[in-house]
């Protein structure tokens, strides 16, 4: 069990001249037993950071500690980690069973039969029990991914590193895997770093979320913090699906003038804005109301596309008075009859609005939550505290 500390870690690829900075001066303190989820756009350095923790890449600058040991010079073996590689990296010449037992054989003194038992039960859990004698080449993509995951979870290491371990699984399987991983992690109390692109995984699995962009830390916090209290426009836009809608505008005398509508700022917003003039308004698709009738502080929109999702639909609308051709998304009930070309009035409650400094991207005003929600939000992540 181990705490992980990253101290000003930077990783560059390539020659100094045209080096790619994959991880940029990241400092992070992960408590023993914590489950941390890394999110960020593709290419933002998540895998690189993981591989640095694993000892597979040597950081260009900075220090990595596992427990209290400085591990800069230690190889992966000495760090005692288990990892799910984004590209699986299964051993092609070994069967599924051999793939999964390899780590146990290498890192423990368990007897053959104990290993076989553990592997069998892990495989069973992941629904690949019947495939134990197959070679990886004979498996479907999702089955391969489960082998890769299985190879990691049969072990009892200091740290779990999981790089998108569920990306090729169907929703149902993913849901059950999610639960299993959480259960296992709780049971073993192993510090876990987890990369995902899946909003559900990001929101539900981890104690804390680490948001990266261009190799830089954007925000570290509980999932709900990141969702409700994004540190900047990037995080606000990145967390939540569909993304938050942003409207850039100018603030003058308490009103934000955006392209296509004007929005009267509330008292608290005004004080947050201060004397900034370039301000971006952000509101999530699910926080918009579309109504047939004109409403105060609302504006008229034309429906561009309706994307029915089943129980909900995404409606892409365009402010009718907008000078250019950009739409934003609104979430409505799946059974509500909205068709393309309909004209409606969009409105968002002042409590649901975020404001960002257009230049720096900093959040200058957060939305208001109900008191209960505030309270939930303010709770420290359970696991990080308890362990």
């Amino acid at each position: 069990m181990a705490r992980i500390t990253l101290d000003d870690v930077t990783k560059r690829f390539g020659d100094d001249g045209d080096a790619v900075v994959a991880v940029d001066d990241v400092s992070l303190d992960i408590a023993d037993g914590e489950f941390v989820v890394f999110v960020g756009p593709s290419g933002s350095g998540k895998s690189t950071l993981m591989r640095t923790v694993a000892g597979l890449e040597t950081q260009s600058e900075g220090d990595v500690y596992i427990g209290d040991t400085l591990v800069n010079q230690l190889g992966p073996r000495a760090r005692d980690i288990a990892m799910v590689f984004q590209n699986y990296a299964l051993y092609p010449n070994m069967t599924v069973e051999e793939n999964m037992s390899f780590g146990l054989k290498m890192s423990t003194d368990l007897s053959k039969s104990e290993i076989a038992d553990q592997v069998a039960s892990a495989a069973e859990m992941m629904g690949i029990g019947k495939l134990l004698d197959n070679k990886p080449g004979e498996l479907s993509g999702g089955q391969q991914q489960r082998v890769a995951l299985g190879r990691a979870i049969v072990r009892d290491p200091n740290v779990f590193l999981m790089d998108e371990p569920l990306s090729n699984l169907d929703a149902k399987l993913r849901a059950s895997m999610r639960t299993e991983i959480n259960r296992l992690q709780n049971e073993l109390g192993v510090t876990t770093l987890y990369v995902t692109h899946d909003q559900t995984e990001a929101m539900t699995m981890g104690d804390r979320l680490v948001v990266l962009n261009f190799g830089e830390l954007q925000q570290v916090g509980t999932p709900l913090e990141c969702f409700y209290r994004p540190a900047n426009r990037f995080v606000a836009g990145f967390i939540g699906s569909p993304s938050m809608n942003f409207f850039e505008g100018t603030v003058g005398s308490g009103t934000l003038v955006a392209d296509g509508f004007e929005y009267e700022l509330s008292e608290s917003m005004r004080s947050s804005v201060g004397d900034r003039t370039k301000v971006t308004l952000g509101a999530r698709p699910e926080d918009f109301d579309l109504s047939e009738d004109s409403v105060s502080n609302g504006f008229e929109v034309a429906v561009d596309v309706v994307e029915p999702m089943g129980s909900i639909s995404y409606v892409y609308v365009r402010p009718v008075e907008q000078s250019h051709d950009e739409t934003f998304v609104v979430e409505v009930d799946g059974q509500r009859p909205i068709s393309e070309g309909d004209h409606l009035y969009a409105r968002v409650s002042p409590t649901d609005i975020h404001l960002f400094d257009t230049q720096s991207g900093e959040t200058i005003h957060q939305r208001t939550l109900t008191d209960e929600a505030e309270e939930v939000l303010s709770r420290r992540p359970e696991s990080a505290v308890s362990k």
Binding site: G55, T58, Q73, L74, G75, A78
Partner: protein, 312 residues
């Protein structure tokens, strides 16, 4: 893997065996190359130094103090009376001709065999196509001579029986070509076997991707398969080239370098200087010049083709 400075020491386990194991693993690269380096030192340093020494003295003697150094006289003899230049030209002709044939043919055959569907037929070809390499040079030269003999050889006989053409006198009218063809028969297997193994490690999905991308068969080879197995192609060709440069046994048995000096390879020249003319100094001088040339050539090839192309 540039992470060789990493250690695998686990801080909390420090038994003697663990320390030993760490010593083994942390310096694995050194342990792994050490035996090779030792053997290489033994087999390159002394013979090389010896040849260099020989090339500079008048008469071979093992006491360096007795040696009469003659400067570059042996080198001069090598290039005047010794016919060194001519033998370089002959050697290069054979190298270029045979290397081309063997590489192309070896690859072609490896490709064809790879595509055979029946596993049994495949195994059969795989074994058969390697066998020519296993014929001892002496047997090949002796039996080859008699088979090629214009009067009593079976090959001219078959050519004349099966085609309207008169069989050429292989060894006297087209000695270089004959040498090249015989070497091709003999050593195409070398290329075949390495290419075959190389081909079988090309990921199938890459070939599939190329097929989906609409690449016809030959372009799959040119653009996807060969680039993927570049290192293997490069190494096989380089090694075969070097072996061809020093080829001796079969050619000597076949033509003894003749007619005249038409097939006087460098190796044959060195042999004659050493064992017939009893001119070890001249032989060594040729060997030294030759070694310098081949090393230089390989250096260029490895730098230009290897580091800038293949391993890049």
């Amino acid at each position: 893997m540039s992470t060789k400075t990493q250690t695998e020491t686990t801080p909390n386990e420090q038994t003697a065996t663990a320390r030993l194991r760490d010593l083994w693993n942390d310096y694995l690269a050194y342990w792994f190359v050490a035996p090779m380096v030792v053997v290489m030192l033994l087999i390159t340093f002394f013979p090389g130094a010896y040849d260099l020494y020989l090339s500079l003295i008048e008469e071979p003697t093992f006491n360096v103090f007795d040696a009469q150094f003659v400067g570059l006289a042996n080198f001069e003899t090598a290039f005047t009376l010794g016919g060194a230049f001519h033998s370089f030209v002959v050697t290069i002709t054979v190298v270029v001709g045979a290397l081309l044939l063997e590489t192309v043919l070896g690859f072609f055959l490896a490709t064809l065999v790879t595509g055979v569907e029946s596993t049994r037929a495949k195994s059969f070809y795989r074994v058969l196509f390697i066998v020519p390499m296993a014929v001892a040079p002496v047997s090949l030269a002796t039996i080859g001579r008699i088979m090629l003999n214009s009067e009593i050889g079976v090959i001219p006989y078959l050519i004349e029986a099966a085609t309207p053409f008169a069989a050429p006198a292989f060894l006297s009218e087209m000695p270089l070509l004959t040498v090249i063809l015989l070497d091709t028969w003999n050593w195409t297997p070398f290329m075949f076997i390495i290419f075959y193994a190389g081909l079988s490690s090309v990921p199938e999905t890459l070939v599939e991707a190329a097929r989906v991308d609409g690449a016809p068969l030959w372009r799959r080879y040119v653009h996807v398969i060969i680039p993927y197995m570049k290192p293997v192609v490069f190494v096989a060709t380089l090694i075969r080239m070097i072996d061809l440069f020093r080829t001796f046994g079969v050619v000597y048995g076949l033509t003894q370098g003749g007619p005249g000096t038409a097939t006087q390879l460098v190796s044959i020249n060195i042999y004659e200087q050493m064992f017939i003319n009893n001119q070890p100094g001249v032989a060594a001088a040729i060997a030294v010049v030759y070694l310098v040339l081949v090393v230089a050539l390989c250096n260029v090839i490895i730098a230009k083709v290897g580091f800038e192309g293949v391993w890049n």
